[in-house]
Symmetry: C2
Subunit: 340 residues, 2 copies
């Protein structure tokens, strides 16, 4: 059994991988001196070479050609929550098992969602700029007025582990919470009213704040389009903590232009595979300039850029990998048909 640690693993990380796997497992990693950087560019050749006879890979990065170059590959331990941009056609055709780490940093992602919600509702970024510039924001007029969460309604799109934690905090803020999940008949204690995916617009119509926490799959890409944004209360805050492609870029630009969306806050951006260097895919600014607007608050794929997140992701990924190698169903098993 040969396992590739598909990044520039430090000696300490390599030791952790070896200890977590059965005795006799061969573990190789990619050459390099940077324990943090992912392998791109010039490193791709080493990655392809290491994968030629690999049985399994544990990794933060998995280009499609790396999978095609690994004819024996049977198990992929994916160190992210989101499974978009993985070569699912190849996985399905070859029966490769896949596991991800959706619960490794759910707290950090839910917290980042709240940081964006509050920055948007309270206009923190704009007010910071005004104060630093020495400008006084007058009371109760002239566009400087913020919202109050208490008594308002949050719509959580996707009530998985992250969405459920977002809903729990909303209740502590005395918000009314509506949720949208594939099966709207499954309740959750922190969602006051659950809707099915076909009832999305009913939920949006009640929302002062929307947080998008669905995985990016064929069912969800483009979900937040012009019609969805038109269903919102005028001036609603929209926060995307999931993936850029859930939101239609032109639609959100138009909704901001027309004031239908009050503030758009996003940690995730559209992916211009062809236009951007590969290490900037997730963090790319909007080609329409959405990120430059005064009514937009942005971070670039930063939700899991917190202390100890990498350790937790690696720990959970190693549990998954050990299970897959042992022929067990890992905690993070991904359904290859649903793609999450």
């Amino acid at each position: 059994m040969k396992v590739v640690a598909g990044w520039h693993a430090s000696p300490m990380e390599l030791d952790r991988v070896r200890r977590a796997l059965p005795v006799g497992t061969e573990v190789v990693t990619l050459p390099g001196h940077d324990a943090v950087a992912f392998p791109y560019g010039a490193d791709r050749a080493a990655y392809l070479e290491a994968m030629r006879d690999a049985d399994a890979v544990i990794t933060w990065v998995l280009p499609h050609d790396v999978v095609r170059a690994a004819p024996k590959l049977a198990h992929v331990s994916w160190l992210h929550a989101g499974c978009d941009r993985l070569p699912f056609d190849e996985f399905r055709a070859r029966g490769i098992t896949l596991a991800n780490v959706p619960d490794a940093h759910q707290a950090a992602i839910a917290e980042h969602a709240w940081a964006l919600v509050l920055a948007a509702v309270k206009r923190i970024v704009w007010k910071h700029g005004e104060h630093v510039a020495g400008r006084h924001v007058p009371y109760w007029r002239d566009g400087g007025v913020g919202g109050t969460l208490s008594g308002s309604t949050l719509a959580v799109l996707g009530v998985g582990s992250i969405g459920a934690q977002i809903a729990r905090v909303a209740h502590a803020f005395d918000m009314h919470v509506v949720g949208v999940r594939r099966n709207g008949t499954v309740p959750h204690p922190h969602v006051d009213r659950m809707y099915g995916e076909h009832e999305l617009h009913l939920a949006l119509a009640q929302a002062d704040v929307v947080v998008i926490a669905v995985p990016s799959t064929a069912r969800t890409r483009g979900l937040i389009d012009a019609e969805a944004l038109a269903a919102l209360r005028p001036g609603a805050v929209v926060v995307n903590i999931a993936r850029g492609d859930i939101v239609v870029e032109e639609a959100v630009r138009d909704a901001l232009d027309e004031g239908r969306v009050g503030v758009f806050a996003s940690d995730v951006w559209w992916d211009y595979e062809d236009a951007m260097p590969p290490d900037q895919h997730f963090g790319s600014p909007s080609r329409l300039g959405v990120h430059l607007r005064d009514d937009v608050i942005v971070s670039g794929d930063q939700a899991s850029n917190v202390y100890f997140a990498r350790d937790r992701m690696l720990d959970r990924g190693l549990e998954n990998l050990a299970d897959m190698i042992a022929g067990l169903t890992p905690r993070g098993a991904v359904d290859l048909d649903e793609e999450y």
Copy 2:
């Protein structure tokens, strides 16, 4: 009975004041066409004139000379939570009754505190700036790493209505909560361990995040001095939602310089009565330039600058005033000795 509404009240506001008070009460307001601005500068003469035979005042602004010019004044309905900068010596000497509105916007203030905590812990303002500038924040290195609330410890200084709500949200974020109040033997369900005011440094020593929510009184001014900041965990986040003068300006500047405080976030600033125009007292930048630092996040007295806050404050203030006029103890009665 003559009541002065001590601002440029709109006709609708004046009607609300009249309806809330006993039939026959004379209500006057200050001339002017702006329903939002407070009376300062040229308006002071009209305020002084209106107060000459006033029995009571309901107001957002009460300069000391206005009180001295009102020999019959018996009741003050103060439309803020904070009672600092009121002429307590005059109130005590003359037996003037005073009430404030501590619970009119407690939700908005607690929410603003959380907006600042999350902006600080997740470095939202800085990351927004980096993304807008097209700079990629790398993962898990180079100063761009944020904290995680879950599992960390919040110290709430002042467990009144605002502090208690802050603690409640902290529990929803799975934080450990320590509280400091005057009497540390009085527990609160959302504070895991309560400390008395003499145990402040014990509580600070456990904190990853500190939120200051105490009133500004003789007991609390300068409470967060060099010794208090030295008691913190290195890199702790300090958020001031109370009044600027609780924190010693030079001490927080030095603690930031030395990295003992990781991020300072504040909605309230030091008061330079002599140096600044009176309508900018609360929102004044720091004369030491604290507000200009990269490790500081600021807003200028914006916590209650939310929709409907003014209405709620006026409603609660009118309840207080009607009670005082009737000889009852109002819900917001202020202890003239404790000054809150």
